[in-house]
C-alpha cells in the first residue's frame, strides 16, 4: 500500500542523527575553545604611547609591539592568546584560562627596557646588545642570593665600554644598569630611592674583557629573577602601554556562567521541541530531527574554524534555534494552507515548499545583513555573538531547509499519510472541498 523503503530511510536518518549527537557531544565539549567569560581570564585594551618624546608610533612600531607581547605571552605558557591592533594605536589582548592574572598583566605590560649607562645617564649599551636568550637566573657565588646573569653579544664592545668607564675618576667610574629608564631620571636621584630602577651600579676599575654582567639587588627573589630573565629574553617593548579598558573574569564566575547558560539553553531548546511536536505533528517531528542535526553541525563547524565560544555566543545559538525553526514553521504553515484549500497531501507539500522558499531566503538574508554589520562593528564577545549568528543562518539553509525538505519528501511520497491530513496539524473541518 505504501513505500516502506522511504520510511526506512527516514528512520535511518533519524537514528543516525541521534547517534551523531550522542557521539559528537563529548568531543565537542572537550574541544570547544571557551572565551574568557566562560573559563576565566582577562582582556585589556592598551593605548600605545611613545617611550620617549619624538618616537613615532607607526605600523612597524605597532607590529613590533605585538610581537613583543606575543613573546611574553609565550613565557606565560597561555594557549590561544588573542592579540590584535585596533584603530592604529591600540592593542587588545585577550587571555583566557590564565591561572595568575596579576602576574600575567605585569609580564605583558612591563617595558623591560634594559640600558647600561654612565653616571651622567648617557646610554652605553642597551637591550639590543644582549645575546639571544642572554638572560638567565644565577646565584651570587659569595652570598648565594639569586641574580640575573646577562650575556652580551660582544665581549669586545663590553670591553670598550668598561675601558672607557675605568678611565673616569672616582666616584664616577660606575657602570649603571637601568631597567625602564624614563626621560628625566638621573643617577643621583634614583640611586637614593628604595624601589630603584637601577638594578646595578658596579664600580669599574679596569677593563672587563668578558661578555657577562649581573643584575642583583635586595628584593630579587628566585621567582622574580626568573621572571625578569624571561622578560628580558622575550625582548623589550619598544613603547609604553597604557591600560584604557580592562575586564577580568575569575575562573569560578566563568564556570558558573557556563553551567547556568547551558542549562538555560537546554530548557529553551526542549521547550521549542515540545511546542513544535504539539503544534505541527509530523512536520514538527521533522523539525526536531533537523534541529538536533543543526545544533550538532553548528558546534562541529564552530570547532572546525577554531572560533571561540563566548556567553553571548551561546545565547546566539539558542536564539538561532528559535529562528531556524522559523523556516520549518513557514513551510509547515504553507503546507497547511494548501491542504485546507483541498489539495492532496503530495501536491500541498510541493506547492507549500515552492511558495515558502523565497520568503525564507528574504527573511534570513536580512538577518544576515545585521549579523555581518554586528561582526564588523562589534568588539570581543559581541563578535563571538555575530559569528554564531552568521553560522546559524548558513546552517538553517542546510538543515532546516534542504534536509528538512528531503525528510518531508520521504514521508509524503511514501503515501502513508495521504489520508492523514491531521498529522500535518490540519483539522478535517477546516478543509474546503475543491
Amino acid at each position: 500500500m505504501y513505500k516502506k523503503g522511504n520510511i526506512a530511510i527516514f528512520a535511518i536518518i533519524m537514528i543516525a542523527t541521534i547517534l551523531l549527537a550522542v557521539f559528537s557531544t563529548p568531543w565537542v565539549v572537550k574541544n570547544t575553545n571557551l572565551g574568557l567569560d566562560l573559563k576565566g581570564g582577562f582582556e585589556v585594551l592598551y593605548e600605545v604611547q611613545p617611550l620617549e618624546d619624538g618616537d613615532v608610533i607607526d605600523e612597524s612600531a605597532m607590529n613590533a609591539t605585538v610581537r613583543a607581547i606575543n613573546n611574553r605571552i609565550n613565557v606565560l605558557g597561555v594557549s590561544e592568546p588573542d592579540v590584535r591592533i585596533e584603530e592604529n594605536n591600540r592593542i587588545r589582548v585577550q587571555l583566557a584560562g590564565v591561572s595568575n592574572q596579576n602576574e600575567a598583566r605585569e609580564v605583558i605590560s612591563s617595558t623591560a627596557q634594559l640600558t647600561f649607562r654612565d653616571v651622567n645617564d648617557n646610554v652605553l649599551l642597551d637591550g639590543k646588545d644582549l645575546a639571544p636568550r642572554g638572560a638567565a637566573i644565577g646565584y651570587d657565588p659569595n652570598s648565594g642570593e639569586p641574580v640575573v646573569e646577562l650575556t652580551l653579544q660582544s665581549a669586545e664592545k663590553f670591553g670598550e665600554v668598561t675601558a672607557e668607564i675605568a678611565q673616569l675618576p672616582e666616584p664616577e667610574n660606575r657602570l649603571v644598569i637601568w631597567l625602564d629608564y624614563e626621560e628625566g631620571d638621573t643617577y643621583e636621584e634614583e640611586i637614593q630611592k628604595e624601589n630603584s630602577k637601577i638594578v646595578s651600579d658596579a664600580r669599574v676599575t679596569s677593563q672587563i674583557l668578558s661578555d657577562k654582567a649581573i643584575i642583583k639587588g635586595g628584593d630579587i627573589t628566585a621567582e622574580s629573577a626568573k621572571q625578569l630573565a624571561d622578560i628580558l629574553n622575550a625582548g623589550a617593548l619598544p613603547v609604553k602601554l597604557d591600560e584604557i579598558y580592562s575586564t577580568s573574569v575569575s575562573a569560578q564566575f566563568g564556570q558558573d556562567a557556563l553551567e547556568e547558560t547551558v542549562f538555560a539553553a537546554s530548557i529553551g531548546i526542549i521547550a521549542v521541541f515540545i511546542f513544535m511536536l504539539f503544534f505541527y505533528r509530523l512536520p514538527g517531528l521533522v523539525s526536531i530531527i533537523t534541529l538536533v542535526l543543526y545544533i550538532n553541525l553548528i558546534m562541529l563547524f564552530f570547532n572546525g574554524i577554531n572560533a571561540v565560544l563566548t556567553l553571548p555566543g551561546i545565547a546566539a545559538l539558542v536564539l538561532g534555534v528559535g529562528m531556524a525553526v522559523d523556516a520549518n514553521i513557514i513551510t509547515a504553515e504553507r503546507i497547511k494552507d494548501e491542504l485546507r484549500s483541498g489539495k492532496s497531501v503530495l501536491s500541498a507539500f510541493r506547492a507549500g515548499n515552492r511558495r515558502s522558499l523565497s520568503t525564507i531566503i528574504d527573511a534570513n538574508l536580512t538577518t544576515l545583513i545585521s549579523a555581518a554589520v554586528l561582526f564588523y562593528f562589534g568588539q570581543s564577545s559581541v563578535k563571538g555573538f555575530a559569528i554564531m549568528l552568521m553560522i546559524s543562518i548558513a546552517m538553517t539553509f542546510i538543515s532546516n531547509v534542504f534536509i528538512s525538505r528531503y525528510l518531508m519528501h520521504l514521508l509524503v511520497s511514501s503515501r502513508l499519510f495521504d489520508k492523514r491530513k491531521g498529522w500535518f496539524g490540519v483539522k478535517e473541518s477546516e478543509i474546503r472541498e475543491l
Partner: protein, 308 residues
C-alpha cells in the same frame, strides 16, 4: 479567546495602533531627555567589581575592603543579585593595573573568591557608543537596499521605519525601568533589528504575492483593495508570526530565567524586542505601507480616494 487570529480585522485597528505608537515615541523622547539611560561602565567610564561572597556584604564593608587594598575611591553603587551573594560594586574612577592586582589579591583573601574587575576609560566608552550608532545606520541602509532590490522602495521604507521603532522602544523600556545598558544591549538591539525585519518580510512577501494574483485579473485602482489585501495577508501569516515569536520567545525566556547573570539584561531586551517586532510588523509596517500607497495612488489619478 472568542475571536480568531485568522479572522480579525487588522486594518480597522491600524490607525489607532499607529497613533498609540506615535504617542509613545513622543513620550519616549521626553523620557530619554529627562531621565536618560542607565549607562553601564562600557559606555560611561569607571570601574565595576563583581564579587561572589558567602553572605551579603554591606557598602561600608566594601569601602573598608577597598581601603585595605589601597583604593580610596568613593563607591558609587552596590547592587546585589543571587540573594546578596553576588555583589556589583561600581565607582566612577578607573583602576590601574597595580590597583586591579591589589584588589584581586585582597578580595580573594577576604571573600574567598577572585573578583571580576572591569575598568573603562571615557574615550573607550565614547568609541563604543559611536560604533553602535554606526552599526545601526549601516544595517538600516543595507536592509533598505536589499528590500528595494527584492521588493520595492515602498516596502523598504515601511520595514525600516518599523524596525527603528522597535529598536527605539527597547531603548525607551530600558530607560523607563532604569536597566543598565551595556555592551550586550547593542547586540540585543541588532538582533531584534534583524528579527523585526525578518518578521515584516514574511508579511510583505504575502502582500506582494496577493497583489500579483489580484492584478492578474484587473488593476488595483482604490485604497480599499490595498487595505483588504493587507488584511488578508496578515490573516494568512499571523499564525506563523505568532508561532515563530513563541519559539524564539521561549528560548529567550529560558535564558532570562536560568542563564548567567551577565546576560540577563540582554535576554530581557530580546523579550521586549520580540514582542515589539511582531506588533510593529503587523500594525506599524503595514500601516506605513498603506500610507505610502495612498500618496502614490493619489498622484496617479486626481479623483479623491475614500477614507478608510
Amino acid at each position: 479567546m472568542n475571536f480568531k487570529l485568522t479572522e480579525w480585522n487588522y486594518v480597522k485597528h491600524m490607525r489607532t495602533m499607529f497613533l498609540v505608537s506615535t504617542a509613545i515615541v513622543v513620550l519616549g523622547i521626553g523620557l530619554l531627555f529627562f531621565r536618560g539611560l542607565n549607562l553601564g561602565i562600557d559606555f560611561a567610564s569607571g570601574t565595576r567589581v563583581e564579587v561572589l561572597t558567602e553572605e551579603r556584604v554591606s557598602q561600608e564593608e566594601f569601602t573598608q575592603a577597598f581601603n585595605d587594598a589601597g583604593i580610596d575611591q568613593e563607591i558609587s553603587s552596590v547592587q546585589y543579585a543571587d540573594e546578596g551573594r553576588l555583589a556589583y560594586v561600581t565607582f566612577v574612577g578607573q583602576l590601574g593595573q597595580e590597583e586591579v592586582a591589589s584588589v584581586k589579591t585582597a578580595f580573594t583573601e577576604q571573600f574567598g573568591n577572585d573578583p571580576n574587575i572591569s575598568t573603562v576609560s571615557a574615550q573607550v566608552g565614547r568609541d563604543l557608543a559611536k560604533n553602535a550608532l554606526y552599526a545601526v545606520a549601516v544595517a538600516s541602509i543595507g536592509i533598505i537596499l536589499y528590500i528595494t532590490v527584492r521588493f520595492q522602495f515602498s516596502y523598504a521604507v515601511a520595514t525600516v521605519v518599523a524596525m527603528l521603532h522597535d529598536a527605539f522602544f527597547m531603548i525607551v523600556a530600558f530607560s523607563l525601568f532604569g536597566i543598565e545598558v551595556n555592551l550586550y544591549f547593542i547586540a540585543a538591539i541588532l538582533t531584534i533589528i534583524g528579527y523585526s525585519v525578518n518578521d515584516t518580510i514574511v508579511t510583505f512577501d504575502r502582500v506582494r504575492e496577493n497583489i500579483t494574483s489580484y492584478e492578474k485579473e484587473r488593476k488595483i485602482r482604490s485604497m480599499d483593495v490595498y487595505e483588504s489585501i493587507i488584511n488578508k495577508s496578515i490573516q494568512e501569516t499571523i499564525v506563523r508570526s505568532v508561532n515563530t515569536v513563541i519559539t524564539v520567545l521561549v528560548t529567550a525566556i529560558a535564558l532570562y530565567a536560568f542563564g548567567a547573570e551577565s546576560i540577563r539584561s540582554f535576554s530581557l531586551a530580546l523579550i521586549i524586542g520580540l514582542f515589539m517586532g511582531m506588533y510593529s510588523s503587523i500594525f506599524i509596517a503595514s500601516y506605513l505601507w498603506l500610507l505610502i500607497k495612498r500618496t502614490t495612488i493619489n498622484k496617479k489619478k486626481d479623483t479623491p480616494v475614500t477614507e478608510a
